[in-house]
């Protein structure tokens, strides 16, 4: 059953945790066509003043989309999604960075459900104003 069945405004959706590593960044880079070296090459990332390789903002957003997909469970579909990229997710070599995605129902208008998402990595919000509109599939 979908986590969205029977929800009302203010309902909270179960938090989902994802792990990002360098292999995921490399696979996402190829899949999306975004081959910017700040996501792939530690020496390059550091040369432009970053602490280390950072995940694509769009990868973080795609994982927020994955959380929505799980909540929807094919009974609902995402017709709109927005995110602001506020802080980078730093991904060190040979380790995994966690991403926690939680959701709350913002409002429901004529069957259109607004889900407000909170996306956290390393105790910091990495996406801002993240919201999606979801309807029955």
């Amino acid at each position: 059953m979908s986590a969205l069945t029977g929800i009302t405004t203010g309902s909270e959706l179960p938090t989902q945790t994802f792990e990002l590593d360098r292999a995921m960044l490399s696979n996402y880079a190829k899949a999306s066509g975004d081959l910017n070296p700040i996501h792939l090459d530690e020496a390059f990332a550091k040369s432009v003043g970053l602490p280390n390789v950072i995940a694509h903002g769009m990868l973080t957003m795609a994982l927020a989309g994955k959380a929505l997909n799980t909540w929807c469970n094919q009974e609902f579909k995402v017709i709109e999604i927005f995110a602001r990229f506020t802080k980078p997710v730093i991904v060190e070599a040979d380790s995994k960075s966690n991403l926690e995605v939680s959701g709350k129902i913002g409002e429901i208008i004529e069957g259109k459900i607004r889900v407000d998402l909170t996306v956290i990595s390393n105790e910091q919000k990495v996406l801002g104003m993240t919201r999606a509109f979801v309807v029955k599939a």
């Binding site: 995921m24 999306s32 066509g33 795609a62 994955k66 997909n69 999604i81 927005f82």
Partner: protein
Amino acid sequence: MAAPDLVGRKFLGTQTQRVNQLDLTSFATSIGENPDTQISQLPTFPIRYTLNEAERIAPELGLDWSRVVHGDQRFIHHRFLRIDEEVRADSEIEAVKSMAGNEILTLRSDLFVGDELVTSTWSTLVFRGQQ
């Protein structure tokens, strides 16, 4: 330096891209989804067809793509793309701002299949100034 009079400038997609199963499967599996995930379950998948348009447009505006940082992103799906459709991105600059030496561009890209608008996207792109 991008000028404010760029607002309203349109860039019609010059070629179509075919939505194919391999691209879909690569995208799904890269984020740990099942290989049989549908496009309707991947709300950000169309970035595959808009980001390369933005990359093509940037130099025409005198902007250096290697200095871009993604500010925000929106997708509105009027319906979902389907495998084997030929998709075209028509883009328009909706806003330009200069802030602290950075050029901030809001680019709308509409994905069309033939005459049908399928997905509308908005990207705010920050082009970092030379320090």
